[in-house]
């Protein structure tokens, strides 16, 4: 696997004693869109801040495109663009100037054409020579993204990019993110919104209390998401599942009183009707039926609360 970011055994304890990250291992594949999900205070921002050089790690190391972020910080950082959650912009500079500043800061020679292109992509061109203080919050968000893209990074970090952003900008942003990926840029974004991760990500990582608790292909997660379960509460417990029911994905609870049938909602047939018919034929009576759907949100909540 070709990793563009490789985090190994990374821990961070702040001076206050708060341990924000605990032995985090994470690999981001080249060219993917990776969504990092987690509740507030889970360590998402700390992880990003360490990779980008804003916070010092307590232990462990990180490679960005093969370069150690500390011993070879120049090579590592010049590959990375960062958009923070807070709207921290200059005030009196124009959009064009602040972008040129960012580009130079990351060691790239001036390139007015590239700056114009980024502004065009982000619908900022008509504000190019407007002072940032005169822009709305949504526009400032665009400016922050434009600054991060000014030096043509290969890796883009978006920390809660859609917090407080309107529908239009959200749509523009996802379009831009997809366009960047087509050009080979790897994108790592953090979010609270599970729908967002579902919409855009290739892989999803879940972080809680400073630990990565799950990293999975979105498709695989979606498959779990697509599963439904039918629980049958049996009138009389049974010792085992009758052989005649072998064709169904069934599970018997320990005491034999509950039968759980898992099926795919996306399938042609749910199989419920034939199953119930067969149960009848085998003389298995049930007193109640409960059906449930596992959503990514549910997986997320259960994973996150389990750890508490």
């Amino acid at each position: 696997m070709d990793s563009i970011i490789s985090v190994s055994n990374l821990s961070k304890t702040y001076a206050s004693g708060f341990q924000a990250l605990r032995n985090v291992d994470l690999d981001i594949r080249r060219g993917e869109i990776f969504a990092l999900l987690g509740p507030n205070g889970a360590g998402k921002t700390t992880l990003i801040s360490i990779i980008c050089g804003i916070v010092n790690p307590s232990s462990g190391n990180v490679l960005a495109d093969g370069h150690d972020i500390i011993s070879d910080y120049r090579a590592a950082r010049s590959k990375i663009g960062l958009v923070l959650q807070e709207l921290t912009t200059d005030v009196f500079e124009t959009v064009r100037d602040t972008m040129s500043f960012s580009r130079g800061l990351f060691g790239k020679p001036p390139d007015p054409a590239h700056i114009e292109k980024v502004m065009t992509d982000l619908s900022l061109l008509d504000k190019a020579d407007t002072k940032i203080q005169a822009l709305s919050g949504g526009m400032k968000r665009r400016v922050l993204i434009a600054k991060a893209l000014a030096h043509e990074p290969k890796i883009l970090f978006l920390d809660e990019p859609t917090a407080g952003v309107d529908v239009e900008l959200r749509r523009d942003m996802w379009e831009m993110v997809r366009g960047l990926r087509e050009n080979g840029v790897t994108i790592i974004l953090t979010t609270h919104y599970i729908e967002e991760a579902e919409l855009i990500a290739d892989r999803i990582g879940i972080i809680n209390k400073g630990e990565i608790i799950l990293v999975e292909e979105k498709e695989a997660l979606m498959q779990k998401l697509g599963k439904r379960q039918l629980t049958l509460y049996l009138q009389n417990p049974i010792a085992s599942i009758p052989a005649g029911l072998n064709g169904f994905d069934l599970e018997l609870s320990g005491d034999g009183s509950e039968l759980v049938y898992t099926f795919d909602v996306h399938g042609e047939e749910t199989g419920i009707a034939p199953l119930l018919k067969l149960l009848n034929e085998h003389g298995i009576d049930y007193r109640d039926i409960h059906s449930s759907e596992s959503s990514l949100e549910e997986i997320f909540v259960s994973l996150v609360t389990e750890k508490r």
């Binding site: 120049r74 912009t89 990351f106």
Partner: protein, 253 residues
């Protein structure tokens, strides 16, 4: 060396100067002119010559130094405090720049402004008093050294300060008294013997004395001592800044 980064920071900081031309350039020149009118013309005409130099001319080097020190500190400290305050410092911290490049950008821009200001004040002073410069090379040297040293000092204050009050406190509580007691307006030989000794503990005395020597060839202390003390102050500031960046003090958690 990331030259583009140095250039970016330098241009960014100087642009701030042009944007705030009134506070940056016009107000120090106005206040210095007032000193010349009040001390040079009004009071100075009643004070006799000092060591063979008219009082008006005598205070020129001291006034230039006074302005350079306070402007260097306030400009350099504000330059680094502001991004800390607004949060935009994250960009500098995440950029592929070394601390040397960051300092060259920020301190270089602040020092450039100070030197320009010094030249403008010297030109302004010419309108009030005729003065001559005996050692122009040394004059420029002292000017530059002082500007760089105090910009570094200001940079340190800007990093240390976590409120606007603290940002104002050091210049107001420490630098202003030191410069006023540092012989800007008088020769320390005019003080009683005990206070002459005390004055020698004030680093500003050496800066002003050396600078005045480059004008008129007269000094309160030996010029080599002046130069040595100025370089010492510069070295201390560099050492402190080096430690700040090594430890990430108040910049990185």
């Amino acid at each position: 060396m990331n030259f583009y980064a140095i250039r970016s920071i330098y241009i960014f900081e100087l642009a701030r100067t042009w944007r705030t031309l009134m506070q940056s350039i016009a107000s120090p020149i106005l206040s210095t002119s007032l000193y010349f009118v009040v001390f040079g013309a009004a009071i100075g005409s009643r004070v006799g010559d000092i060591e063979g130099i008219s009082y008006g001319a005598f205070i020129v080097p001291g006034l230039v130094m006074l302005t350079i020190m306070s402007e260097s500190i306030s400009n350099a400290s504000f330059g680094i405090y502001l991004p800390k305050f607004t949060g935009t410092i994250y960009e500098v911290l995440s950029a592929p720049v070394s601390y040397i490049e960051v300092i060259l950008g920020y301190v270089g821009a602040a020092a450039t402004k100070s030197v320009i200001l010094g030249a403008l004040i010297l030109a302004t002073a010419r309108l009030f008093v005729p003065y001559h410069v005996l050692h122009p090379f040394w004059m420029a040297g002292f000017l530059l050294l002082t500007a760089v040293s105090f910009c570094l000092f200001g940079f340190i204050i800007g990093i240390w300060a976590d409120s606007f009050q603290k940002l104002q406190m050091v210049p107001l509580m420490i630098i202003t008294p030191l410069t006023f007691l540092g012989g800007s307006f008088y020769s320390i030989h005019m003080l009683p013997p005990f206070w002459q000794k005390v004055a020698l503990l004030n680093p500003v005395v050496y800066l002003i004395s050396g600078f005045r020597w480059s004008f008129y060839g007269v000094a309160d202390v030996n010029v080599e001592v002046s130069l040595g003390m100025t370089l010492l102050f510069l070295a201390v500031c560099i050492a402190v800044v080096w430690r700040i960046f090594r430890t990430g003090y108040k910049l990185k958690s």
